[in-house]
Protein backbone atom coordinates (compact mmCIF):
# COMPACT_ATOMS: atom_id res chain seq x y z
CA UNK A 1 0.00 0.00 0.00
CA UNK A 2 2.69 2.44 0.95
CA UNK A 3 4.55 1.82 -2.25
CA UNK A 4 1.73 3.39 -4.23
CA UNK A 5 2.68 6.91 -5.16
CA UNK A 6 0.45 9.73 -6.22
CA UNK A 7 0.76 8.88 -9.88
CA UNK A 8 -0.33 5.25 -9.68
CA UNK A 9 -3.30 5.74 -7.41
CA UNK A 10 -6.66 7.02 -8.60
CA UNK A 11 -6.88 9.15 -5.49
CA UNK A 12 -3.99 9.96 -3.25
CA UNK A 13 -3.86 12.36 -0.32
CA UNK A 14 -0.66 13.13 1.51
CA UNK A 15 -0.55 14.65 4.97
CA UNK A 16 -3.74 16.56 4.24
CA UNK A 17 -4.54 19.35 6.71
CA UNK A 18 -7.46 21.70 7.10
CA UNK A 19 -8.45 24.00 9.90
CA UNK A 20 -11.59 26.08 10.37
CA UNK A 21 -10.61 28.74 12.88
CA UNK A 22 -9.47 26.78 15.90
CA UNK A 23 -11.14 23.61 14.80
CA UNK A 24 -8.84 21.09 13.20
CA UNK A 25 -10.98 19.26 10.66
CA UNK A 26 -8.15 17.28 9.03
CA UNK A 27 -5.04 16.62 10.98
CA UNK A 28 -2.58 15.04 8.56
CA UNK A 29 -4.40 12.37 6.58
CA UNK A 30 -2.47 10.15 4.17
CA UNK A 31 -4.21 7.49 2.16
CA UNK A 32 -4.73 6.15 -1.35
CA UNK A 33 -7.42 4.57 -3.44
CA UNK A 34 -5.91 2.15 -5.96
CA UNK A 35 -7.46 2.15 -9.41
CA UNK A 36 -10.62 0.14 -9.81
CA UNK A 37 -11.05 -0.34 -6.07
CA UNK A 38 -13.45 0.98 -3.49
CA UNK A 39 -12.07 2.95 -0.58
CA UNK A 40 -14.48 3.40 2.31
CA UNK A 41 -14.00 6.38 4.58
CA UNK A 42 -15.74 5.53 7.83
CA UNK A 43 -16.28 7.98 10.63
CA UNK A 44 -18.85 9.61 12.90
CA UNK A 45 -20.34 13.11 12.52
CA UNK A 46 -17.67 15.76 12.32
CA UNK A 47 -14.86 13.30 11.66
CA UNK A 48 -13.70 15.22 8.60
CA UNK A 49 -15.08 13.01 5.83
CA UNK A 50 -16.81 15.76 3.91
CA UNK A 51 -13.84 18.07 4.35
CA UNK A 52 -11.60 15.47 2.74
CA UNK A 53 -14.00 14.87 -0.12
CA UNK A 54 -14.36 18.60 -0.74
CA UNK A 55 -10.64 19.11 -0.89
CA UNK A 56 -10.12 16.22 -3.29
CA UNK A 57 -12.93 17.53 -5.51
CA UNK A 58 -11.39 21.05 -5.69
CA UNK A 59 -14.19 22.66 -3.68
CA UNK A 60 -11.99 23.54 -0.74
CA UNK A 61 -8.34 24.56 -0.44
CA UNK A 62 -6.25 22.51 1.98
CA UNK A 63 -4.09 24.32 4.54
CA UNK A 64 -1.34 21.77 4.16
CA UNK A 65 -0.43 18.58 2.34
CA UNK A 66 -1.43 17.58 -1.15
CA UNK A 67 -4.20 15.77 -2.96
CA UNK A 68 -3.97 14.04 -6.32
CA UNK A 69 -6.76 12.68 -8.42
CA UNK A 70 -5.84 10.57 -11.42
CA UNK A 71 -2.28 11.78 -10.81
CA UNK A 72 -3.32 15.43 -11.11
CA UNK A 73 -2.58 17.86 -8.31
CA UNK A 74 -6.02 19.27 -7.44
CA UNK A 75 -4.64 22.50 -6.06
CA UNK A 76 -2.36 23.30 -8.98
CA UNK A 77 -4.54 22.09 -11.79
CA UNK A 78 -8.14 22.00 -10.57
CA UNK A 79 -9.77 22.41 -13.96
CA UNK A 80 -8.00 19.37 -15.40
CA UNK A 81 -8.70 17.37 -12.25
CA UNK A 82 -12.43 18.05 -12.70
CA UNK A 83 -12.47 16.00 -15.90
CA UNK A 84 -11.36 12.96 -13.93
CA UNK A 85 -14.01 12.62 -11.29
CA UNK A 86 -17.72 12.66 -10.63
CA UNK A 87 -19.08 13.80 -7.28
CA UNK A 88 -22.27 13.21 -5.37
CA UNK A 89 -22.07 15.39 -2.29
CA UNK A 90 -23.57 14.75 1.11
CA UNK A 91 -26.76 16.60 0.14
CA UNK A 92 -28.18 15.92 -3.31
CA UNK A 93 -27.54 18.87 -5.63
CA UNK A 94 -30.41 18.69 -8.07
CA UNK A 95 -32.15 21.69 -9.53
CA UNK A 96 -35.67 21.62 -8.16
CA UNK A 97 -37.17 23.61 -10.99
CA UNK A 98 -35.84 21.34 -13.72
CA UNK A 99 -37.06 17.89 -14.60
CA UNK A 100 -34.86 14.89 -13.95
CA UNK A 101 -34.07 14.75 -17.64
CA UNK A 102 -33.14 18.44 -17.81
CA UNK A 103 -30.89 18.10 -14.79
CA UNK A 104 -28.90 15.30 -16.38
CA UNK A 105 -28.85 16.94 -19.79
CA UNK A 106 -27.48 20.13 -18.26
CA UNK A 107 -24.71 18.31 -16.44
CA UNK A 108 -23.87 16.43 -19.64
CA UNK A 109 -23.50 19.68 -21.56
CA UNK A 110 -21.27 21.08 -18.83
CA UNK A 111 -19.14 17.93 -19.05
CA UNK A 112 -18.58 18.86 -22.70
CA UNK A 113 -20.82 16.20 -24.17
CA UNK A 114 -22.54 17.19 -27.40
CA UNK A 115 -26.20 18.16 -27.53
CA UNK A 116 -27.43 14.81 -28.74
CA UNK A 117 -24.97 12.86 -26.67
CA UNK A 118 -26.18 14.68 -23.54
CA UNK A 119 -29.79 13.84 -24.30
CA UNK A 120 -29.08 10.19 -25.02
CA UNK A 121 -26.98 9.88 -21.92
CA UNK A 122 -29.64 11.53 -19.78
CA UNK A 123 -32.31 9.16 -21.03
CA UNK A 124 -30.07 6.13 -20.60
CA UNK A 125 -29.20 7.06 -17.03
CA UNK A 126 -32.80 7.83 -16.08
CA UNK A 127 -33.77 4.35 -17.15
CA UNK A 128 -30.82 2.76 -15.48
CA UNK A 129 -31.65 4.40 -12.16
CA UNK A 130 -35.36 3.52 -12.38
CA UNK A 131 -36.35 7.12 -12.99
CA UNK A 132 -37.61 6.60 -16.51
CA UNK A 133 -41.21 7.37 -15.62
CA UNK A 134 -40.33 10.38 -13.50
CA UNK A 135 -37.85 11.84 -15.97
CA UNK A 136 -40.21 14.51 -17.22
CA UNK A 137 -41.33 15.59 -13.79
CA UNK A 138 -39.89 18.58 -11.98
CA UNK A 139 -37.54 17.19 -9.31
CA UNK A 140 -39.28 19.20 -6.61
CA UNK A 141 -41.80 16.37 -6.64
CA UNK A 142 -39.16 13.66 -6.16
CA UNK A 143 -38.83 11.65 -2.97
CA UNK A 144 -35.54 11.64 -1.06
CA UNK A 145 -34.57 8.32 -2.59
CA UNK A 146 -35.31 9.55 -6.11
CA UNK A 147 -33.21 12.65 -5.55
CA UNK A 148 -30.32 10.53 -4.37
CA UNK A 149 -30.55 8.36 -7.44
CA UNK A 150 -30.71 11.37 -9.72
CA UNK A 151 -27.74 12.91 -7.94
CA UNK A 152 -25.82 9.68 -8.36
CA UNK A 153 -26.77 9.59 -12.03
CA UNK A 154 -25.58 13.18 -12.42
CA UNK A 155 -22.23 12.25 -10.94
CA UNK A 156 -21.60 9.66 -13.65
CA UNK A 157 -22.94 11.59 -16.62
CA UNK A 158 -19.41 12.57 -17.60
CA UNK A 159 -18.13 8.97 -17.57
CA UNK A 160 -15.33 10.00 -15.26
CA UNK A 161 -13.05 7.17 -14.12
CA UNK A 162 -13.22 8.20 -10.47
CA UNK A 163 -16.30 8.64 -8.37
CA UNK A 164 -16.65 10.22 -4.93
CA UNK A 165 -19.85 9.62 -2.96
CA UNK A 166 -20.32 11.40 0.34
CA UNK A 167 -22.70 9.39 2.53
CA UNK A 168 -24.77 8.23 -0.43
CA UNK A 169 -27.36 6.33 1.59
CA UNK A 170 -27.80 8.45 4.70
CA UNK A 171 -31.47 9.08 5.30
CA UNK A 172 -32.73 6.31 3.05
CA UNK A 173 -34.95 3.48 4.19
CA UNK A 174 -33.36 0.01 4.27
CA UNK A 175 -34.88 -1.12 0.98
CA UNK A 176 -33.89 1.97 -0.91
CA UNK A 177 -30.45 1.74 0.61
CA UNK A 178 -29.94 -1.81 -0.57
CA UNK A 179 -31.16 -0.84 -4.04
CA UNK A 180 -28.67 2.01 -4.12
CA UNK A 181 -25.90 -0.36 -3.07
CA UNK A 182 -26.78 -2.45 -6.11
CA UNK A 183 -26.39 0.59 -8.35
CA UNK A 184 -23.06 1.39 -6.77
CA UNK A 185 -21.81 -2.19 -7.17
CA UNK A 186 -22.79 -2.08 -10.79
CA UNK A 187 -20.73 1.06 -11.29
CA UNK A 188 -17.75 -0.48 -9.58
CA UNK A 189 -17.97 -3.62 -11.66
CA UNK A 190 -17.74 -1.31 -14.67
CA UNK A 191 -14.25 -0.37 -13.50
CA UNK A 192 -14.83 2.92 -11.70
CA UNK A 193 -12.64 3.78 -8.73
CA UNK A 194 -14.82 4.78 -5.82
CA UNK A 195 -14.25 6.77 -2.69
CA UNK A 196 -17.23 6.38 -0.42
CA UNK A 197 -17.82 7.98 2.94
CA UNK A 198 -20.21 6.49 5.44
CA UNK A 199 -21.15 6.37 9.08
CA UNK A 200 -22.17 2.75 8.83
CA UNK A 201 -19.71 -0.06 9.26
CA UNK A 202 -22.25 -2.28 7.54
CA UNK A 203 -22.16 -0.10 4.44
CA UNK A 204 -18.38 0.03 4.31
CA UNK A 205 -18.39 -3.71 4.83
CA UNK A 206 -20.79 -4.24 1.92
CA UNK A 207 -19.08 -2.00 -0.59
CA UNK A 208 -15.48 -1.21 0.27
CA UNK A 209 -12.35 -3.17 -0.56
CA UNK A 210 -10.50 -1.20 2.00
CA UNK A 211 -11.75 0.86 4.92
CA UNK A 212 -10.14 3.87 6.51
CA UNK A 213 -11.55 4.78 9.90
CA UNK A 214 -11.28 8.46 10.63
CA UNK A 215 -12.05 10.47 13.75
CA UNK A 216 -11.29 14.07 14.66
CA UNK A 217 -9.44 14.47 11.39
CA UNK A 218 -7.07 11.57 11.93
CA UNK A 219 -6.91 8.04 10.63
CA UNK A 220 -7.34 5.73 13.60
CA UNK A 221 -7.50 2.41 11.78
CA UNK A 222 -7.17 1.11 8.27
CA UNK A 223 -7.61 -2.25 6.59
CA UNK A 224 -10.02 -4.59 4.91
CA UNK A 225 -13.28 -5.10 6.68
CA UNK A 226 -12.06 -8.52 7.78
CA UNK A 227 -8.94 -7.00 9.30
CA UNK A 228 -10.94 -4.35 11.11
CA UNK A 229 -13.40 -6.87 12.44
CA UNK A 230 -10.62 -9.08 13.64
CA UNK A 231 -9.28 -6.05 15.45
CA UNK A 232 -12.57 -5.37 17.17
CA UNK A 233 -13.57 -8.97 17.68
CA UNK A 234 -16.12 -9.75 14.98
CA UNK A 235 -19.63 -11.02 15.64
CA UNK A 236 -20.73 -11.91 19.13
CA UNK A 237 -23.35 -14.34 20.34
CA UNK A 238 -25.12 -12.56 23.13
CA UNK A 239 -27.37 -14.11 25.80
CA UNK A 240 -29.25 -12.89 28.78
CA UNK A 241 -30.22 -15.11 31.72
CA UNK A 242 -32.61 -14.82 34.60
CA UNK A 243 -30.45 -16.07 37.47
CA UNK A 244 -26.77 -16.37 38.33
CA UNK A 245 -27.15 -20.16 38.47
CA UNK A 246 -28.49 -20.29 34.94
CA UNK A 247 -25.64 -18.09 33.78
CA UNK A 248 -22.95 -20.27 35.37
CA UNK A 249 -24.49 -23.49 34.09
CA UNK A 250 -24.77 -22.08 30.62
CA UNK A 251 -21.19 -20.82 30.65
CA UNK A 252 -19.94 -24.35 31.43
CA UNK A 253 -22.30 -25.94 28.98
CA UNK A 254 -21.23 -23.70 26.11
CA UNK A 255 -17.51 -23.88 26.71
CA UNK A 256 -16.92 -25.56 23.36
CA UNK A 257 -18.98 -23.12 21.31
CA UNK A 258 -17.61 -20.05 19.56
CA UNK A 259 -14.35 -18.78 18.19
CA UNK A 260 -12.71 -17.84 21.44
CA UNK A 261 -13.37 -17.76 25.14
CA UNK A 262 -16.76 -16.57 26.37
CA UNK A 263 -17.17 -13.54 28.59
CA UNK A 264 -19.78 -13.56 31.31
CA UNK A 265 -20.95 -10.77 33.48
CA UNK A 266 -22.50 -11.72 36.85
CA UNK A 267 -24.02 -8.27 37.34
CA UNK A 268 -25.96 -8.01 34.13
CA UNK A 269 -26.37 -11.82 33.91
CA UNK A 270 -25.17 -11.72 30.32
CA UNK A 271 -22.94 -14.08 28.41
CA UNK A 272 -21.17 -13.14 25.20
CA UNK A 273 -19.35 -15.58 22.96
CA UNK A 274 -17.21 -14.36 20.05
CA UNK A 275 -18.22 -16.25 16.96
CA UNK A 276 -16.91 -16.68 13.46
CA UNK A 277 -19.91 -18.42 11.89
CA UNK A 278 -22.75 -16.93 13.87
CA UNK A 279 -25.72 -18.98 12.72
CA UNK A 280 -24.04 -22.39 13.28
CA UNK A 281 -22.95 -21.34 16.73
CA UNK A 282 -26.39 -19.96 17.46
CA UNK A 283 -28.04 -23.27 16.50
CA UNK A 284 -25.52 -25.27 18.53
CA UNK A 285 -26.13 -23.03 21.52
CA UNK A 286 -29.89 -23.35 21.27
CA UNK A 287 -29.63 -27.16 21.07
CA UNK A 288 -27.30 -27.37 24.07
CA UNK A 289 -29.39 -25.01 26.19
CA UNK A 290 -32.60 -26.76 25.24
CA UNK A 291 -31.26 -30.21 26.09
CA UNK A 292 -30.22 -28.90 29.52
CA UNK A 293 -33.63 -27.31 30.03
CA UNK A 294 -32.14 -23.83 30.23
CA UNK A 295 -34.09 -20.93 28.83
CA UNK A 296 -32.37 -17.58 28.34
CA UNK A 297 -34.35 -14.34 28.38
CA UNK A 298 -32.84 -13.28 25.14
CA UNK A 299 -30.36 -14.60 22.62
CA UNK A 300 -29.07 -12.91 19.49
CA UNK A 301 -26.10 -12.35 17.25
CA UNK A 302 -24.62 -8.92 17.58
CA UNK A 303 -22.63 -7.43 14.72
CA UNK A 304 -19.95 -4.93 15.68
CA UNK A 305 -21.15 -1.40 15.02
CA UNK A 306 -19.26 1.78 14.42
CA UNK A 307 -19.59 2.28 18.16
CA UNK A 308 -17.74 -0.96 18.82
CA UNK A 309 -15.02 0.14 16.44
CA UNK A 310 -14.67 3.35 18.35
CA UNK A 311 -14.90 1.75 21.74
CA UNK A 312 -12.13 -0.59 20.79
CA UNK A 313 -9.94 1.89 18.96
CA UNK A 314 -10.35 5.00 21.09
CA UNK A 315 -11.96 3.78 24.27
CA UNK A 316 -14.74 6.27 23.60
CA UNK A 317 -18.07 5.81 21.93
CA UNK A 318 -18.67 7.52 18.62
CA UNK A 319 -20.71 10.70 18.69
CA UNK A 320 -24.23 10.38 19.96
CA UNK A 321 -25.97 10.45 16.64
CA UNK A 322 -24.54 7.19 15.35
CA UNK A 323 -27.06 4.57 16.22
CA UNK A 324 -25.96 1.26 17.52
CA UNK A 325 -26.63 -1.37 14.97
CA UNK A 326 -28.14 -4.40 16.50
CA UNK A 327 -28.76 -7.05 13.93
CA UNK A 328 -30.95 -9.66 15.43
CA UNK A 329 -30.78 -12.92 13.62
CA UNK A 330 -32.89 -14.86 16.00
CA UNK A 331 -34.51 -14.36 19.33
CA UNK A 332 -35.55 -17.22 21.54
CA UNK A 333 -37.81 -16.42 24.41
Amino acid sequence: MNSINEHDAAIHVEDLRKQFGDLVALDGVTTSAPRGKVLGLLGPNGAGKTTLVRIVTTLLQPDGGAAFINGIDVVRDPQRARLSFGLAGQYPAVDENLTGFENLEMVGRLYRLGRKESRDRAQELLERFDLGDAGNRVTKTYSGGMRRRLDLAASIVGNAPILLLDEPTTGLDPRTRIALWEHIRELVSGGVTLLLTTQYLEEADELADRIVVIDHGRIIAEGTSGELKAQIGGDVLQMQFRTGDDLRTATQLLAGVGASEAKFDEDSLSLSIPTADGVDDLLATVRLLDSAGLKPDDIHIRRPSLDDVFLTLTGQPADASTEQELVEHGTVN
Binding site: T57, R82, L83, F85, A93, R109, R128, N159, A160, P161
Partner: protein, 274 residues
Protein backbone atom coordinates in the same frame (compact mmCIF):
# COMPACT_ATOMS: atom_id res chain seq x y z
CA UNK B 1 -27.23 -2.14 -18.20
CA UNK B 2 -24.67 -0.65 -20.47
CA UNK B 3 -21.36 -1.24 -18.91
CA UNK B 4 -19.52 -0.55 -22.08
CA UNK B 5 -20.86 2.98 -21.79
CA UNK B 6 -18.84 3.52 -18.66
CA UNK B 7 -15.60 3.69 -20.52
CA UNK B 8 -13.18 4.02 -17.73
CA UNK B 9 -10.03 3.08 -19.51
CA UNK B 10 -7.55 5.75 -18.74
CA UNK B 11 -6.35 6.02 -22.29
CA UNK B 12 -9.84 7.04 -23.29
CA UNK B 13 -9.82 9.76 -20.71
CA UNK B 14 -6.47 11.26 -21.36
CA UNK B 15 -7.55 11.96 -24.89
CA UNK B 16 -10.17 14.19 -23.36
CA UNK B 17 -9.56 17.89 -23.89
CA UNK B 18 -7.56 19.71 -21.32
CA UNK B 19 -8.22 22.90 -19.37
CA UNK B 20 -11.34 23.90 -21.22
CA UNK B 21 -12.16 27.28 -19.77
CA UNK B 22 -10.44 29.35 -22.42
CA UNK B 23 -12.05 27.74 -25.44
CA UNK B 24 -14.44 30.36 -26.66
CA UNK B 25 -17.06 27.97 -28.07
CA UNK B 26 -17.17 26.08 -24.77
CA UNK B 27 -17.38 29.30 -22.84
CA UNK B 28 -20.35 30.40 -24.94
CA UNK B 29 -21.98 26.97 -24.66
CA UNK B 30 -21.60 26.93 -20.86
CA UNK B 31 -23.07 30.39 -20.55
CA UNK B 32 -26.02 29.45 -22.75
CA UNK B 33 -26.65 26.24 -20.81
CA UNK B 34 -26.67 28.17 -17.55
CA UNK B 35 -28.87 30.95 -18.92
CA UNK B 36 -31.39 28.44 -20.16
CA UNK B 37 -31.38 26.68 -16.83
CA UNK B 38 -32.11 29.93 -14.99
CA UNK B 39 -34.84 30.94 -17.41
CA UNK B 40 -36.56 27.57 -17.06
CA UNK B 41 -37.24 28.63 -13.50
CA UNK B 42 -39.68 31.23 -14.78
CA UNK B 43 -41.35 28.67 -17.01
CA UNK B 44 -41.76 26.31 -14.06
CA UNK B 45 -42.75 29.02 -11.60
CA UNK B 46 -44.82 31.46 -13.64
CA UNK B 47 -46.01 33.04 -10.40
CA UNK B 48 -42.44 34.29 -9.96
CA UNK B 49 -42.76 36.28 -13.16
CA UNK B 50 -46.25 37.45 -12.27
CA UNK B 51 -45.19 38.79 -8.90
CA UNK B 52 -42.01 40.35 -10.18
CA UNK B 53 -44.16 42.32 -12.64
CA UNK B 54 -46.98 43.24 -10.27
CA UNK B 55 -44.67 45.41 -8.21
CA UNK B 56 -43.48 47.70 -11.04
CA UNK B 57 -47.04 47.95 -12.34
CA UNK B 58 -48.11 49.08 -8.88
CA UNK B 59 -45.39 51.70 -8.92
CA UNK B 60 -46.64 53.03 -12.22
CA UNK B 61 -50.21 53.34 -10.95
CA UNK B 62 -49.13 54.70 -7.58
CA UNK B 63 -46.98 57.45 -9.01
CA UNK B 64 -49.22 58.24 -11.93
CA UNK B 65 -52.39 58.60 -9.89
CA UNK B 66 -51.41 59.15 -6.26
CA UNK B 67 -48.19 61.18 -6.17
CA UNK B 68 -48.33 62.42 -9.72
CA UNK B 69 -50.70 65.26 -8.98
CA UNK B 70 -48.34 66.65 -6.38
CA UNK B 71 -45.24 66.44 -8.52
CA UNK B 72 -44.74 69.21 -11.00
CA UNK B 73 -42.72 68.58 -14.11
CA UNK B 74 -42.65 71.81 -16.07
CA UNK B 75 -43.13 71.46 -19.79
CA UNK B 76 -44.03 67.75 -19.83
CA UNK B 77 -46.93 65.54 -18.79
CA UNK B 78 -46.04 63.70 -15.61
CA UNK B 79 -46.88 60.34 -17.18
CA UNK B 80 -44.33 60.96 -19.92
CA UNK B 81 -41.78 62.01 -17.32
CA UNK B 82 -42.61 59.02 -15.15
CA UNK B 83 -42.51 56.04 -17.52
CA UNK B 84 -38.83 56.31 -18.51
CA UNK B 85 -38.01 56.54 -14.81
CA UNK B 86 -40.21 53.57 -14.00
CA UNK B 87 -38.33 51.51 -16.58
CA UNK B 88 -35.08 52.22 -14.74
CA UNK B 89 -36.67 51.53 -11.38
CA UNK B 90 -38.05 48.15 -12.53
CA UNK B 91 -34.71 47.15 -13.93
CA UNK B 92 -32.85 48.22 -10.82
CA UNK B 93 -35.18 46.26 -8.55
CA UNK B 94 -35.10 43.33 -10.97
CA UNK B 95 -31.32 43.28 -10.99
CA UNK B 96 -31.25 43.24 -7.23
CA UNK B 97 -32.82 39.76 -7.49
CA UNK B 98 -29.66 38.36 -9.04
CA UNK B 99 -28.18 38.18 -5.56
CA UNK B 100 -31.11 36.11 -4.30
CA UNK B 101 -30.86 33.62 -7.16
CA UNK B 102 -27.16 33.06 -6.64
CA UNK B 103 -27.53 32.80 -2.88
CA UNK B 104 -30.23 30.17 -3.37
CA UNK B 105 -27.94 28.17 -5.62
CA UNK B 106 -25.21 28.41 -3.01
CA UNK B 107 -27.56 27.35 -0.27
CA UNK B 108 -28.95 24.36 -2.12
CA UNK B 109 -25.55 23.02 -3.08
CA UNK B 110 -26.02 23.71 -6.80
CA UNK B 111 -22.92 25.90 -6.86
CA UNK B 112 -20.91 23.02 -5.40
CA UNK B 113 -22.09 20.84 -8.21
CA UNK B 114 -21.13 23.48 -10.80
CA UNK B 115 -17.76 24.12 -9.18
CA UNK B 116 -16.94 20.44 -9.34
CA UNK B 117 -17.63 20.32 -13.09
CA UNK B 118 -15.05 21.14 -15.77
CA UNK B 119 -17.15 24.08 -16.93
CA UNK B 120 -16.11 27.71 -17.43
CA UNK B 121 -15.97 29.49 -14.09
CA UNK B 122 -17.66 32.62 -15.30
CA UNK B 123 -20.66 30.79 -16.73
CA UNK B 124 -22.51 30.35 -13.44
CA UNK B 125 -22.67 34.09 -12.77
CA UNK B 126 -22.97 35.16 -16.39
CA UNK B 127 -25.82 32.69 -16.92
CA UNK B 128 -27.59 34.22 -13.96
CA UNK B 129 -27.06 37.86 -14.97
CA UNK B 130 -28.10 37.12 -18.54
CA UNK B 131 -31.25 35.33 -17.44
CA UNK B 132 -32.16 38.21 -15.15
CA UNK B 133 -31.47 40.61 -18.01
CA UNK B 134 -33.83 38.65 -20.21
CA UNK B 135 -36.51 38.87 -17.58
CA UNK B 136 -35.81 42.60 -17.21
CA UNK B 137 -36.32 43.06 -20.94
CA UNK B 138 -39.68 41.36 -20.69
CA UNK B 139 -40.69 43.59 -17.78
CA UNK B 140 -39.59 46.74 -19.66
CA UNK B 141 -41.86 46.01 -22.59
CA UNK B 142 -44.68 45.20 -20.22
CA UNK B 143 -44.18 48.53 -18.42
CA UNK B 144 -44.20 50.42 -21.69
CA UNK B 145 -47.44 48.66 -22.58
CA UNK B 146 -49.04 49.53 -19.23
CA UNK B 147 -47.75 53.09 -19.58
CA UNK B 148 -49.26 53.48 -23.01
CA UNK B 149 -52.60 52.31 -21.68
CA UNK B 150 -52.65 55.21 -19.23
CA UNK B 151 -51.41 57.84 -21.60
CA UNK B 152 -47.68 57.52 -22.07
CA UNK B 153 -46.38 58.36 -25.58
CA UNK B 154 -42.75 58.35 -26.70
CA UNK B 155 -42.11 61.59 -28.55
CA UNK B 156 -39.20 61.12 -30.89
CA UNK B 157 -39.80 58.03 -32.97
CA UNK B 158 -39.56 54.30 -32.38
CA UNK B 159 -35.83 54.06 -33.06
CA UNK B 160 -34.86 56.41 -30.27
CA UNK B 161 -37.38 54.71 -28.00
CA UNK B 162 -35.78 51.36 -28.76
CA UNK B 163 -32.32 52.81 -28.20
CA UNK B 164 -33.56 53.95 -24.80
CA UNK B 165 -34.84 50.44 -24.06
CA UNK B 166 -31.46 49.01 -25.04
CA UNK B 167 -29.70 51.36 -22.67
CA UNK B 168 -32.01 50.41 -19.81
CA UNK B 169 -31.40 46.72 -20.49
CA UNK B 170 -27.63 47.22 -20.55
CA UNK B 171 -27.76 49.25 -17.38
CA UNK B 172 -29.68 46.45 -15.67
CA UNK B 173 -27.09 43.95 -16.87
CA UNK B 174 -24.30 45.99 -15.30
CA UNK B 175 -26.19 46.29 -12.00
CA UNK B 176 -26.76 42.52 -11.99
CA UNK B 177 -23.05 42.04 -11.54
CA UNK B 178 -23.05 44.21 -8.41
CA UNK B 179 -25.96 42.16 -7.21
CA UNK B 180 -24.13 38.93 -8.06
CA UNK B 181 -21.26 39.92 -5.82
CA UNK B 182 -23.71 40.69 -3.01
CA UNK B 183 -25.28 37.24 -3.42
CA UNK B 184 -21.91 35.50 -3.29
CA UNK B 185 -20.89 37.45 -0.20
CA UNK B 186 -24.14 37.10 1.75
CA UNK B 187 -24.67 33.44 0.79
CA UNK B 188 -28.23 33.06 2.12
CA UNK B 189 -31.30 34.10 0.14
CA UNK B 190 -32.83 36.01 3.06
CA UNK B 191 -29.74 38.12 3.69
CA UNK B 192 -29.19 38.56 -0.01
CA UNK B 193 -32.73 39.83 -0.37
CA UNK B 194 -32.29 42.46 2.32
CA UNK B 195 -28.75 43.40 1.35
CA UNK B 196 -29.81 43.61 -2.27
CA UNK B 197 -32.40 46.26 -1.48
CA UNK B 198 -30.49 48.39 1.01
CA UNK B 199 -28.19 49.97 -1.53
CA UNK B 200 -30.87 50.20 -4.18
CA UNK B 201 -33.44 52.20 -2.24
CA UNK B 202 -31.51 55.44 -1.64
CA UNK B 203 -30.14 55.31 -5.16
CA UNK B 204 -33.57 54.95 -6.73
CA UNK B 205 -35.39 57.51 -4.60
CA UNK B 206 -32.62 60.11 -4.41
CA UNK B 207 -32.58 60.28 -8.16
CA UNK B 208 -34.43 61.78 -11.08
CA UNK B 209 -36.44 58.60 -11.52
CA UNK B 210 -39.68 59.88 -10.00
CA UNK B 211 -39.13 63.62 -9.50
CA UNK B 212 -37.00 66.34 -11.05
CA UNK B 213 -33.88 66.72 -8.88
CA UNK B 214 -34.33 70.51 -8.78
CA UNK B 215 -36.92 70.02 -6.04
CA UNK B 216 -34.39 68.43 -3.65
CA UNK B 217 -32.24 70.25 -1.06
CA UNK B 218 -28.97 71.33 -2.63
CA UNK B 219 -26.69 68.84 -0.85
CA UNK B 220 -28.88 65.98 -2.05
CA UNK B 221 -29.18 67.51 -5.47
CA UNK B 222 -25.46 67.23 -6.01
CA UNK B 223 -25.54 63.54 -5.20
CA UNK B 224 -28.71 62.96 -7.17
CA UNK B 225 -27.28 64.56 -10.27
CA UNK B 226 -24.13 62.52 -10.56
CA UNK B 227 -25.21 59.09 -9.41
CA UNK B 228 -25.64 56.46 -12.14
CA UNK B 229 -29.37 55.92 -11.80
CA UNK B 230 -30.13 59.62 -12.38
CA UNK B 231 -27.68 59.82 -15.22
CA UNK B 232 -29.31 56.82 -16.86
CA UNK B 233 -32.81 58.11 -16.19
CA UNK B 234 -31.93 61.47 -17.77
CA UNK B 235 -30.45 59.86 -20.84
CA UNK B 236 -33.34 57.48 -21.32
CA UNK B 237 -35.89 60.20 -20.73
CA UNK B 238 -34.20 62.50 -23.22
CA UNK B 239 -34.23 59.79 -25.86
CA UNK B 240 -37.88 58.98 -25.31
CA UNK B 241 -39.14 62.54 -25.05
CA UNK B 242 -37.02 64.06 -27.79
CA UNK B 243 -34.96 66.25 -25.44
CA UNK B 244 -31.31 66.95 -26.24
CA UNK B 245 -29.28 63.94 -25.06
CA UNK B 246 -26.56 65.34 -22.85
CA UNK B 247 -25.50 62.53 -20.58
CA UNK B 248 -25.00 59.58 -22.94
CA UNK B 249 -21.23 59.29 -22.57
CA UNK B 250 -21.46 59.90 -18.88
CA UNK B 251 -23.95 57.07 -18.59
CA UNK B 252 -21.90 54.70 -20.73
CA UNK B 253 -18.87 55.49 -18.59
CA UNK B 254 -20.81 54.58 -15.45
CA UNK B 255 -21.89 51.30 -17.02
CA UNK B 256 -18.42 50.42 -18.21
CA UNK B 257 -17.03 51.37 -14.82
CA UNK B 258 -19.48 49.11 -12.99
CA UNK B 259 -18.71 46.18 -15.30
CA UNK B 260 -14.95 46.68 -15.14
CA UNK B 261 -15.04 46.61 -11.36
CA UNK B 262 -17.76 44.08 -10.59
CA UNK B 263 -17.28 41.40 -13.26
CA UNK B 264 -13.74 40.56 -12.12
CA UNK B 265 -14.70 41.01 -8.47
CA UNK B 266 -17.62 38.56 -8.74
CA UNK B 267 -15.51 36.02 -10.57
CA UNK B 268 -12.77 36.41 -8.01
CA UNK B 269 -15.28 35.87 -5.22
CA UNK B 270 -16.75 32.85 -7.01
CA UNK B 271 -13.35 31.23 -7.33
CA UNK B 272 -12.70 31.75 -3.66
CA UNK B 273 -15.97 30.21 -2.47
CA UNK B 274 -15.67 27.32 -0.10
Amino acid sequence: MRHEAIDTTLAGHQERPYSPSWRIDWLVSDILVMTKRNLLRYVRLPQLLVFSTIQPVMFVLLFAFVFGGAISTPGVDYINFLIPGILIQSVVFGSSMTSVGLAEDLNKGMIDRFRSLPMARVAVIAGRTLADTTRNTFVIFLMIGVGMLIGFRYQDGILKALAAVALVVLFGFALSWISALIGLVTRTPETANVAGFIWVFPLVFASSVFVPVETMPSWLQTFAEVQPISVTADTVRSLMLGWPVENLWYMLAWMAGILVVFVPLSIWKYRRLT
